[in-house]
Symmetry: C2
């Protein structure tokens, strides 16, 4: 039998419900995996073994008494270290916050716990979710970056140290590490998941997202996390559908729009030829692959994103920065120092471009069931000093449209490649349905039991 | 019998419905009034006599055939010249726009027309609703300002050239001219009335408002204008109650909170002593007058407002300004030039103060049915080079809370004084109920038939 830690989230849920797996055994297996791998990977910054073992025992005991807290009862989940966890250190990957213990749970963590999940520990993040790297390494090749900013969460899920983990994305901080580490990464629509109790970076761009090893697992987690939160007024009142039920598509064949503009010319050659192969496979399986004409505002997207991120980042850090100058690392320091100089009118113009681009994309999306691009311009680059290039993910952080990374194959260097599917605003249900179909067609799984496996490759 | 033009809006509605007054006779009376007064007052910039006479004839004809378009059937209404009117010049009081003919109606104008109103004409505004004065004069003393930016609308209603007129407020552009001209002025909650098709000044502060001569008249107009508009996503989905029905107050006696802080020290002596008298009257009539402790964020309100208004104003005008430098007047030019220099972080800090102040005020308002302040620091000042000081109205533009001006008496110079009542967010129903009660107690009417009359005083 497979090690419990290497089960999919959905499998863990079923086995726990059927009493074939105890939360205690699951926790043991997970901790054993962490013990053997994390000294190399460095995905975790805080794990309170005593507390979580007690917690797992409590969950096991409840099951024996017939009590289930919710769909995630007894499942250990990783949490990026920018989410407030009551009573547990939350450092945001920064010396400035090294001793900060939040007095309450972020809404996302609260919802996980309410659904029965056990917060396994906090995963490594770049400094305040910007670009100064975490110590985490890419599990497929320890000399390569795992991507960022949600570095630890992506690497932990890729190596079965946990079945799922929370992340966040302001530029490309969920989709890029998901692609580099070969896991599923979902960034839902702006306003879909509450950010209450999450360290802000740039609040009109910040999204909560997460990592799993299958689309079905992502649907489970989204169902738990999505919904309006009065503590975060940017969350929408939109109803939350049942994501676990794979909806039928109204339109057949599936219409997938491929974005060539910008993506083709900025991709490594092997990335674009891989993407062409993926398109051919999907077409052969019955989808219509259509070329998307991007709106004129697309050309202004990268600049607008940089200006908003820098101005809001500087505004959030300004006072903290004055008091803790020496504790800030160089990339965030540079962001703050340049952010402080951005004129208000430039910021407002960038926000205008953002609104325009979102409106333009709404019109474009009417013609497709989803859009497709390569998730990243290259596989995970060598070195740990940079977390890679966010260009390919940025347009969807700016537009707020939901995106998902699907592992789609391997590079020449033996590193994962991924495709990025983009859905309509609050259309995560359809996006997940399309993603399930693509996952089935591509048959590239990030499970360590099905070929693509950092575990096997590294000989752990 | 009174001249039709000097009837209240509610009276016009009743008489037209009962066929005691024809839209044609009403229009004749109104145009006669304009002919006799406007050469002095200069409230109007565009009136298309032929078109509106034809329109009135059509409305009259429809009535004779038993057709009523809506509650405002056949009523002539004034429209500030920053609202788009399809096919009718909309200059925003600026040389830059002197030949601009909008291709569609602003939502507010569209709603008026749908309710059966006739757009009588466009009223004078300061340049782009900022501070460079319109030619309009105060009907109580032609050497004094009528206030701004909605100068023409306030003066036209005060002199019965129309029963009601649209205005807008970014700082104090509805409440101040209402107070200076002795009419009722309502600025509803931010997000209550659509701004689609209105020239923006500072879009996170801009409100559509209007002028009438009684609270009952204001309730009618609000009912027509309020509600969500998909074309202006800042408009709330909040349901629109029936404002015409005077709701009962849950709590008796009425609790009125008086804001002394800032207001007392910045009022002319006669203004504050007048306010004290008003408080005494209201108390004698049964209200409880309580002192309000303002939150700490109140101290930052004026600065935050100025920064937001300047940055957004500059952002809106930047390109237009480059191309039309010589056409801009000095006050708006100064606003744009300084606005261009405001750092993004200062703007973002100001927006943070705005959110904080609104949240603080929500807590404060729980203890009162409404707040009360003098509407302006002085009666209309002499001279036409300035439209007066917006300080007293600014906190409620920043907070987005609804406010109404009630004419409350006369100054030593024989100019109107007003009190400003402030309600809770989307609590216009209650605010109007309280205002109706105060109006009854104070018995100060702005009708030319009941004493306070610019018409009589000037000997027109």
């Amino acid at each position: 039998m497979a090690e419990p830690c290497s089960l999919y989230l959905t499998e863990m849920i079923t086995q726990i419900r059927r009493k074939k797996l105890s939360p205690l055994n699951l926790m043991e297996s997970v901790l054993k995996r962490i013990d053997s791998l994390d000294p190399l990977i460095q995905a975790w910054v805080t794990i309170d073994r005593k507390a979580i073992q007690e917690e797992a025992a409590r969950h096991a005991d409840e099951i024996s008494r017939g009590k289930m807290r919710g769909p995630l009862h007894g499942i250990p989940i990783g949490v990026k270290d920018i989410f407030y966890t009551a009573g547990m250190k939350t450092t945001a990957g920064s010396k400035v916050m090294e001793n900060f213990i939040p007095p309450f749970d972020s809404t996302a963590v609260h919802r996980l716990k309410k659904a029965g999940a056990i917060v396994l520990g906090k995963t490594a993040t770049t400094e305040f979710a910007h670009a100064d790297p975490a110590p985490t390494r890419n599990p497929w090749n320890l000399d390569h970056t795992p991507g960022g900013s949600s570095s630890g969460s992506a690497a932990a899920v890729a190596t079965c140290m946990c079945p799922a983990a929370l992340g966040s994305q302001t530029g490309g901080s969920v989709l890029r590490p998901a692609a580099y580490c070969g896991v599923v990464g979902l960034k839902p629509t702006y306003g879909r998941i509450s950010r209450h109790g999450v360290f802000p970076f740039s609040w009109t761009l910040d999204h909560v997202g997460f990592f799993t090893r299958s689309v079905a697992d992502a649907a489970i987690l989204l169902g738990v996390l999505a919904g309006h939160d009065p503590q975060d007024l940017s969350t929408a009142q939109e109803p939350v559908p049942d994501y676990n039920r794979s909806g039928k598509l109204a339109r057949k064949p599936l219409r997938i729009g491929v974005v060539r503009a910008f993506y083709q010319q900025n991709s490594e050659e092997q990335v674009w030829s891989h993407t062409e192969k993926i398109m051919a496979k999907l077409e052969k399986a019955g989808a219509r692959i259509l070329e998307v004409k991007m709106p004129p505002s697309f050309a202004a997207v990268q600049d607008a994103h940089r200006i908003i991120m820098r101005a809001e980042g500087a505004a959030f850090h300004e006072k903290l920065f004055e008091k803790n100058l020496a504790k800030y690392r160089p990339k965030l320091r540079d962001l703050i120092e340049t952010g402080l100089l951005i004129p208000g009118v430039d910021y407002l113009r960038a926000q205008k471009i953002k609104r325009l681009f979102r409106r333009h994309m709404e019109a474009v999306m009417k013609n497709y069931d989803c859009l497709l691009t390569p998730a990243t311009s290259s596989p995970a680059p060598p070195g740990l000093s940079s977390t890679g290039n966010p260009w390919f993910q940025v347009p969807w952080s700016l537009s707020g449209l939901p995106t998902i990374n699907l592992p789609s194959g391997m590079s020449q260097e033996g590193l994962p490649l991924g495709i990025q599917l983009i859905g309509t605003a609050f259309g995560e249900g359809k996006l997940l349905t399309v993603a399930r179909w693509c996952e089935k067609v591509l048959q590239v799984s990030c499970s360590p039991r099905v070929g693509l496996s950092p575990i096997n490759k590294q000989g752990y």
